[in-house]
């Protein structure tokens, strides 16, 4: 675990650095995929850029809105370069909304665009696992296994490593068969969503930090991930049956 990398007088927040590298590699994978599929890579790049920018602005605005009385007293603090003053849910909402608006304006094919984004999202998933390994977040339950890691005064399941291995596997699957035109549009993205949800369910069974759902040791994140998985499979089925009807 190394949340901070001390380089001389500089204290670099390693998880943040890993995220930046992950986003950079992810963007290059998205661009490579878009070019292989003869898509407009510049438009996809712009979409990601605007969505990321909106995500950061939205996250800060969400934080300010949630603590409005404080920022009315000190409005200039809203512009501070403080990564702690971000609200993840607001950022995500702003990111999705901006992506939708940009995609509609530029008439991008929704499913094809999501397919192009999937390899990048898979890389970012790996970056998240490495971030957790660096910060110690998402730690596993205590266990004496040959592969346990010593973290916070206990031998524990290396849940961050499980996450990393599964994220790597998902990335390999998502990046496979890039030129296969028999795959329906959206199949790559939906597969990514389904496999990520299943990985979350599996790894969270060994996590110590997650909030419990009230059903024994079941985590809320496991229940949420399973609902996502069911929804993704339902969308896949629906798209397949409508495709069959069109062929008929």
């Amino acid at each position: 675990m190394m949340p901070v990398l001390n380089v001389g007088p500089l204290a670099i927040q390693l998880p943040g650095l890993i995220l930046l590298v992950g986003i950079w590699i992810g963007l290059s994978r998205i661009e490579a995929f878009a070019r292989r599929r003869s898509m407009n890579a510049d438009r996809i790049n712009s979409l990601v850029f605007y969505a990321l920018l909106a995500g950061i602005l939205g996250a800060r605005l969400g934080y300010v809105a949630q603590n409005l009385p404080v920022f009315i007293q000190r409005p200039l603090d809203a512009f501070a370069l403080s990564p702690q003053m971000l609200d993840a849910a607001s950022g995500l909402a702003a990111m999705i909304l901006t992506g939708l608006i940009y995609g509609q304006r530029k008439r991008l094919n929704g499913w094809q665009t999501l397919d192009a984004l999937a390899p990048g999202l898979a890389v970012i998933l790996m970056a998240f696992a490495l971030m957790n390994l660096s910060s110690g977040n998402g730690l596993g339950v205590p266990a004496r296994l040959p592969w346990s890691i010593y973290l916070f005064e206990d031998w524990r399941h290396p849940t961050q490593v499980y996450d990393l291995i599964l994220a790597f596997g998902i990335w390999r699957v998502i990046e496979s068969n890039p030129r296969d035109v028999t795959l329906p549009d959206g199949a790559r993205f939906l597969t990514f969503a389904a496999l990520s949800a299943a990985a979350r369910i599996g790894v969270d069974a060994f996590r110590a930090e997650n909030v419990l759902s009230g059903l024994g040791g079941v985590r809320i994140t496991q229940v949420a991930a399973w609902l996502i998985l069911v929804a993704v499979v339902a969308v896949m089925r629906r798209r397949e049956s409508s495709k069959r009807e069109v062929i008929k």
Partner: protein, 186 residues
């Protein structure tokens, strides 16, 4: 590989069913573990206890602040962001101390000069308790790897937020403190 997965009609239904089995197994076999009560310098765990001398060499323990909302700020006099954020801590302490907020500055004296640290506290007019970690005991238990590091602890002694680095501004401190105070009022 992706093509094979999609050609196999049973893959996704099997994945859904298998995931449900894992959830059920987790429900039956994984104990409903609670982090509170275990002392670790992490969000969701109890704050590790410490006993350190203050400026007048009187021992002060974490238990002395029981029932208060507590901010622990690990700092050193040679650390520029630590120095820069001290007025914000003082401002927040002044405005919220009547509501049950305690701010405790823990000087990492084992890697600082005690006299310089005391001089800094005096010059900046720091009014909240400042403790001196001569033997690295508290810094070790809180696994301090960078300065400043700030812990926000609720009335039950559970760590709610950890911020590595700084300087923290007044709005951020107030937002976090008011969130904890609001929770305590409910």
């Amino acid at each position: 590989m992706l093509t094979k997965i999609h050609q196999n009609q049973r893959f996704f239904p099997f994945l859904t069913a298998f995931s449900l089995v894992i959830i059920l197994l987790t429900g039956f076999f994984s104990p409903p573990e609670s982090n509170s009560g275990r002392a670790l310098p992490r969000v969701g765990f109890s704050a590790p206890s410490f006993t350190l001398p203050d400026g007048e060499n009187q021992p002060i323990s974490l238990g002395d602040f029981e029932g208060s909302i507590l901010i622990l700020n690990f700092w050193a006099s040679w650390c520029p962001p630590c120095r820069a954020e001290m007025p914000a801590f003082q401002e927040v302490y002044d405005s919220h101390k009547g509501e049950g907020l305690i701010i405790v500055g823990i000087n990492t004296t084992y890697q600082d000069d005690a006299e310089t640290a005391r001089q800094f506290v005096f010059e900046r007019g720091v009014k909240f308790p400042v403790l001196y970690d001569f033997d690295n005991s508290a810094s070790r238990d809180y696994q301090i790897q960078a300065l400043p590091t700030t812990f926000f602890i609720d009335r039950r002694g559970t760590i709610r937020k950890v911020i590595y680095g700084g300087p923290l501004n007044e709005a951020l401190l107030k937002a976090e403190v008011e969130r904890l105070l609001e929770e305590a009022r409910r």
